[in-house]
Amino acid sequence: MSSRVGMARYAARAAAGVARRLRGGSGTVIAGHVLEALAPGAVEALTTGRDVTLVTGTNGKTSITALTVAALGDEHLASNPDGANTRAGIAGALATGGDGAVVLETDEGWLPWAVAQTRPARVVLSNLSRDQLSRHHEVRALAVSWRAALAGVPLVIANADDPAVVWPALAARRQVWVAAGARWTADAATCPACGRACRRGPTGWGCTSCDLRRPRPHWWLEGNDLCGEDTRIPLRLDLPGRFNLGNAALALAAVDATGGVQLHDAARRLADVHAVAGRYQRVRFRGHDLRMMLAKNPAGWLELLDLMAPDRCPVVLVFNADGVDGRDPSWLYDVSFAPLRGRTVVVQGRRATDLMVRLELDDVEARLVRGSIADAVWVLPAGRVDVVGNYTAFQTALKEVRRG
């Protein structure tokens, strides 16, 4: 490390400390801005010679990053567990983290930059589906940019069940395929390689025109067990839902690829992950037991509605359309909210009316309660409540309930 990068890193850490004291939060993004302002090129310098794993995808990237970090069990590594995943967040994580291995959640749009700067040993791809279309516009354009970025990357660990990640993954030098599941398939009707129809059957998916098809997975799930060619590892997660088993499978495949960790030990450490950047966190708040959840796009909603289905406790839905939420909430119509019928549903947020209309069209009775989470739970009987927000709504709700 040059003295200039070292000085910049020192200043960035100090800035993060000040930001933490003044405003709460982690201060990672501020640290990133300071680092890059004082030492342009510091991201490249700080990752040179280190073992770098990048994690990206529309959904699950924060969870996979957290699970990978837990599984590695290395207290000296650098990561961005708070989900700050754009340029400043990545720079900040390197400025404030340890000097060991690097595991970085990376925004889909920033992947090409992150690959160029950090020259990762491996990249993990979870899935690719519509999200913030007012910003990303088209899913396929992202797949094309990934494919270009991944050319020359030594290894990609990718979800074999999503054509939109398999195609870019094929550009890397080597692939490890994980059958991590894909509940949402609406963005995989056309082949990402040739644009013809892509069909899905009980044994996988395949293009009707070119030879792109589901690769044979190296890792797959049988119940709660992660299976490989001659391995079977029981997974005991505290994180709920089938999709988190898929996330854990991708994380362990990535850890396995580092070569330095006993996989059964790594798997045991996954049980220590109880929440991911506040998601799935259980909080006692005003006489209620809240479970905090994030759903920011149709694929995410589909997973969460499945997850909540067996439960009949009241639900608070908080919905915004600001900045990173994407400004067009039309995607609410991509998902059926019918699984919420018969439950007590309270709606709030700056675009609450959009959600109220959406629920009405699916015959879900809901009550609009303006204000904060405290106002929402005030109208509910004491007991368990699921709170689901999209991105900015979730952040605000989390801050409120953590304050108590």
Binding site: L133, E138, Y333
Partner: protein, 244 residues
């Protein structure tokens, strides 16, 4: 008024990127509120577009999905005639597919169904944001509100009329017009979904397909319209500033 309606959702797997299913939901919801039962037929990639239904809906899609939809629909000689003979709503990519032709992201022109006397090109910049238009020759339909997210333009010729005049937003990218009306077809770049945000437009399509409808007001939807128009309609913002 008919007592049953068949609504055909054309290729929802390809043309449904921006919540377009919501247009079908709005139609069935408003029909059923008047006691009209609805049967929705979703046309899959291997299925033929039904020849005799009451209403046809086409949504928007990404470039590659739109090209596959074009190939699929052009392979069926009768589709243009079927859509042309029935009440049809086409949104975004749907609009372009019904035009003479449209351009993909590389600027290559592709043939459309030629049902609308419209040629679609490319806007200089992608149009993204809230839109407000004043409907043309549709006295029963108040200001239209929607969200646009497209790179396509639309130039209207001879027998094609605009759906609205742009008050806020981009629309067709020519002459401050938005959308198309021609024969039984209404086409627009507006998502939102457009029929959810504009119940009068949904009712117009329903009454064309099923005959006159009794009144039905949905307070939640009226609230949503008010919110969106307050945000996007500069005439309303001016009124707010002046305090009346």
């Amino acid at each position: 008024m008919a007592d049953e309606l068949t609504i055909v959702h054309v290729l929802p797997d390809l043309l449904g990127t921006y919540g377009d299913r919501g247009n079908v939901l709005a139609l069935t919801h408003r029909a059923e509120a008047r006691g009209v039962a609805c049967r929705v037929v979703e046309v899959g990639l291997d299925e033929r577009v039904p020849r005799t239904a009451d209403l046809y809906v086409l949504g928007g899609g990404e470039d590659s999905a739109q090209l596959l939809a074009a190939r699929t629909l052009l392979a069926d000689d009768l589709v243009a005639a079927v859509l042309g003979a029935h009440t049809t709503l086409a949104v975004c990519a749907g609009l372009q597919l019904l035009a003479h032709g449209f351009e993909d992201s590389t600027g290559t022109r592709h043939q459309g169904l030629g049902l609308l006397d419209v040629e679609c090109g490319r806007l200089e910049e992608r149009a993204v944001g809230e839109v407000v238009t004043e409907p043309v020759d549709l006295p029963e339909v108040p200001s239209l509100t929607g969200y646009e997210n497209h790179r396509g333009s639309a130039r209207l010729h001879g027998s094609a009329r605009p759906l609205g005049r742009v008050v806020a937003g981009v629309g067709n990218g020519h002459d401050d017009l938005e959308g198309v009306q021609q024969g039984h077809v209404i086409a627009t770049y507006l998502h939102g979904p457009v029929l959810v945000r504009n119940p009068a437009l949904a009712d117009l399509l329903l009454s064309r397909a099923a005959g006159p409808l009794p009144e039905y007001e949905d307070p939640e939807v009226e609230e949503l319209r008010k919110e969106r128009l307050d945000v996007a309609d500069p005439r309303r913002r001016r009124r707010h500033l002046l305090g009346y």
